[in-house]
């Protein structure tokens, strides 16, 4: 028994306004957005963006995200260095938040999307429902990795006491922001309906 999907009825749903219309139309009759049954070329686009994000991840972690000038000496700190420093200063809760937002979320998101893409190429024993839920969580948590970039921005804007104490943004702040943006575009372009299509194909 197969499900009644829009595709099985020769229909497509507009990705912007959710209008269900004949798949033969080029444009959504309601809002004018290009109409596709599935997001076009989503697997390859997502993979290309994921590779870009993985490459960006290296400089984002090696380069300093923040530079502190205090009493004439300047200290450069990386994302991980900042977490270590916070632990040494006994600010455990802040260290945990920064570690989750800046390390676990972006790495988890990259791994999860790579895995989900891989299941589309080679099949998977995990049910489409579970993979769809995994995808939606990945999509939801994506923007939270921007926390560290905002923390740096606030510190830069606030901490400048003459020449005694100044905090400056490091080059990794922009690299990391770019990484977050690229992964957000990657997850937006991914199409979870492909899990279900693949499953239906296998049952035929």
């Amino acid at each position: 028994m197969s499900r009644v999907t829009a595709a099985s009825k020769g229909l497509a749903s507009c990705h912007l306004c959710q209008k269900v219309a004949s798949v033969e139309l080029d444009k959504c009759p309601r809002c004018g957005t290009a109409l596709h049954s599935r997001k076009s070329n989503s697997l390859n686009r997502t993979l290309a963006l994921l590779c870009t994000a993985t490459i960006l991840y290296i400089p984002a972690n090696i380069w300093p995200i923040m530079i502190t000038d205090q009493f004439g000496s300047s200290i450069e700190s990386t994302i991980l260095g900042g977490v270590v420093l916070l632990i040494q200063m006994d600010s455990i809760p802040v260290a945990v938040i920064i570690f989750i937002a800046s390390v676990m979320v972006p790495v988890g998101k990259l791994l999860s999307l790579f895995y989900l893409c891989w299941t589309l190429k080679s099949g998977s024993s995990v049910s489409p429902r579970q993979r769809t839920i995994a995808y939606r969580i990945t999509e939801l948590i994506g923007k939270w990795s921007m926390i560290d970039v905002f923390v740096v921005s606030i510190l830069v804007a606030l901490v400048h006491i003459g020449k005694i104490l100044v905090i400056r943004p490091g080059i990794a702040s922009i690299t990391f922001a770019a990484l977050v943006i690229v992964t957000m575009i990657a997850s937006k372009g991914f199409d979870p309906r492909l899990f279900w299509d693949k499953e239906a194909e296998n049952h035929e």
């Binding site: 499900r3 009644v4 999907t5 829009a6 595709a7 099985s8 229909l11 497509a12 749903s13 912007l16 306004c17 959710q18 209008k19 269900v20 219309a21 309601r30 809002c31 957005t33 916070l86 600010s91 809760p93 802040v94 938040i97 920064i98 489409p128 429902r129 769809t132 839920i133 995808y135 939606r136 923007k143 939270w144 921007m146 926390i147 560290d148 970039v149 905002f150 923390v151 921005s153 606030i154 510190l155 830069v156 804007a157 606030l158 901490v159 400048h160 006491i161 003459g162 005694i164 104490l165 400056r168 943004p169 702040s173 922009i174 922001a177 937006k188 979870p192 309906r193 899990f195 279900w196």
Partner: protein, 207 residues
């Protein structure tokens, strides 16, 4: 009964493509996909009145958040006070104009634009106007809202408060509380603007 009127109540789940007839969904109800549990639509009571009230409140708090001091920092007998627009110019002043533009877009420009457009769309739908611009406004809102990071920024502010609390005396100003209120009203306004219902009503109001 023609095929055309019937298809207006059809919705395909964005996650699994399952086709649903939404004509039975009533005010105050929520619909979830039975196959994948995706939240399909939430019809809130008096949705557009709430959209208008919340988005206008959000805009008022946004103006306050931009005009008043956001945070202050006191160390070695010297104090620095900053407003949100000053924060952006300070980042630009450190030579990171690209970071300044990104932060400005994510926390100020896009959220304010989304709220202004939401207020306009809400008023238009509440009044039942037949106009040519409401659809374009709705398209912009649904494109832009992904890129608003109001709530993420606010958590970032709280983290930075803890981070520098040992370093110096840190204070929060009127703009801090205004931004918090802005974030709450922003979320409430958008949660009342259901995608499916909004577009259905826009189609009915086509000039």
């Amino acid at each position: 009964m023609s095929m055309h009127t019937h298809s207006d109540d059809q919705m395909a789940c964005p996650s699994c493509d399952h086709l649903y007839d939404m004509s039975g969904l009533e005010q105050g109800q929520q619909a979830r996909c039975g196959t994948c549990n995706h939240l399909l639509a939430t019809y809130r009571e008096h949705a557009y009145a709430h959209v208008v009230a919340f988005s206008i409140s959000a805009l008022i708090f946004f103006v306050l958040a931009c005009c008043f001091p956001f945070m202050s920092f006191k160390s070695s007998g010297m104090e620095s006070v900053m407003t949100l627009p000053q924060a952006i110019t300070q980042i630009k002043g450190e030579g990171m104009w690209d970071l300044a533009i990104l932060v400005a877009c994510f926390i100020l420009i896009i959220p304010a634009l989304v709220m202004a457009l939401t207020a306009a769309l809400g008023i238009s739908l509440l009044a039942g106007w037949r106009n040519h611009w409401a659809k374009d406004v709705a398209k912009l809102i649904f494109h832009l809202q992904v890129w608003s990071m109001v709530e993420v920024f606010f958590i970032g502010v709280l983290v930075s408060l803890f981070k520098i609390a040992d370093m110096a005396t840190v204070g929060v100003g009127i703009a801090f509380w205004s931004y918090a209120a802005f974030a709450i009203f922003f979320t409430l306004a958008l949660s009342n603007l259901d995608t499916f219902q909004t577009w259905k009503n826009l189609e009915e109001l086509e000039p």
